[in-house]
Amino acid sequence: MKSLRDYKEIENKMALNELTIVEAREGLKEKRFSAVELARDCLGAIKKIDPRVKAYVTVDEERVLKESKAVEKKLSELPLGGVPIAVKDNFLTRGLRTTASSWVLENYLPVYDATVISKLKEAGAIILGKTNMDAWAHGSSTETSQFFPTHNPWDLERLPGGSSGGSAAAIAADLTIGAIGSETAGSIRQPASWCGVVGLKPSYGVVSRYGVIAMASSLDSPGPMTKTVEDSRLLFEILRGRDSHDATSVDFRPLPQKPFRQVRIGVAPQYFPAEMDEEVKTMVKEAINLFTGQGLATKEVRLIDPQFAIADYTVLQRAEVSSNLARYDGIRYGRDRSFFGEEAKRRIMLGTYTLSAGYYDAYYLRAEKVRALLCHDFEKVFQEIDVIMAPTTPSTALKLGATKGHPMFGEVQDMLVEASSIAGLPGINLNCGFTKKGLPVGLQIIGPRFSELLLLGMAQMYEKATDWQKRKPSLN
């Protein structure tokens, strides 16, 4: 947490883009600065630094300033009044170009807002810009964006992770106050891990998918990416809830709370695979020790080998992708199918194959059964423990170009998050330190469905006891 003196320093430097959502709201309500000034600082930072980070695909300065001005009078009543939020470019924003970082939708102008966007706007937030992603969310690097790769603010020669890489990078580099991403399997948690920011993947169904360019309909989960856990909680509260436009959405019914000291932590050796980075292993174990140091009990648990989750996810996701991308026929919107990139084509092809006559049983049906197995596996384990703690990713941020020639790159990078996504569970990533090379390491906490408040509470406990978030990448 910043002290009042740090805070004054930030305001004097006119670097309001460095504020968190909570701090920005305080400042705005106390009229220490205006929404327009806050927006200007964010836009200024983008102008200065984004040419190197390339987190953004679209920023409409005029619109941002106009909306910021319009909200000034209503600042105090609105929970996010005047707060600039960066949004992953797979969320439809009415009148603001939305591309999914793809050539097919390069010139697409949505005629309606995603529910997530409507909720943000109702709360008074300013949509600062649309952030870069792997095209169609097909990736874990943001390198498969058909426009340009995003660079990790901690080392510009490295990837930010994906597919919500642009949002993660924007948060890490203070190019926004808050951000929105989406996760199908890893796309919030993994880039959050590589960029050292807080990424919450809610339980599937808790945040509406209406207006989110669909990847895998039974897995896609929109969620917040923020500088602090408090900010994450704030955004989660605004975004959650059943939506009549999304028949797969549910009301958030939080699990009954238990005192933190009684929370039982599960640690699975399967989630610390031999091939993973030693530094990451050590640092995540240290992070878990912080909790045991506070008196919490840990227990070793057995979970199905993540290798099976990789295979399962590969089938489920690609099958659903092949169905969801069938709508891009270039007739009602966008360019025709010849504009799909290699990765998209590959996924559509594999998905089509696994769903085709003669192969459906062997692949898709089998994958649905494995899905059930994974769900039961977690259910069983959550009878003995309340949360699972593990590394978010097997390594820290890899260099640009790392994905070339590896059709299964994303799936392997996401091996530690796929199972929980398949089971529709919530998970949060938080930064638990930096390697010798100065790269962030992510700790993830996974819980049963509807345990978001517990996850946020645990994360906040860790955040309070450490100060990793005070460290910033040196981009000036």
Binding site: Y108, L109, V111, Y112, Y204, G205, S218, S244, A247, T248, V250, I304, Q307, F308, I310, A311, D312, T314, V315, S322, A326, D329, G330, I331, R332, Y333, G334, R337, S338, F340, E342, K345, R346, I348, M349, L350, T352, Y353, T354, S356, Y363, L365, R366, A367, E368, K369, V370, R371, A372, L373, C375, P407, M408, I422, A423, G424, R449
Partner: protein, 100 residues
Amino acid sequence: MQKLSEKEVRHIAKLAQLPLSDEEVRTFAEQLSETLDYIERLKELKTEAVQPTYQTTGLKNVFREDEIGPCLSQEEALQNSEETYKGYFKVKAVLGPLNP
């Protein structure tokens, strides 16, 4: 090692309405085979007695009242199309003359 033939790849591409070059057909035959190999390991898990599931919410039969609510105007719906005609989307002809 199960290898997809180029014929199979072309068949899938047709099902998926994806225009592929000859080069792409060759590359995909190899890459897709690699991925299929990876998926083979799912066979190691015992799934005979397992009920498949395609969702995690447990929701069933989500309905709403058959009432008209706000929706896009015709103009908005046509806005992003390159080819329209008097309020319609223009598409390639599906039916042709009986004796072409």
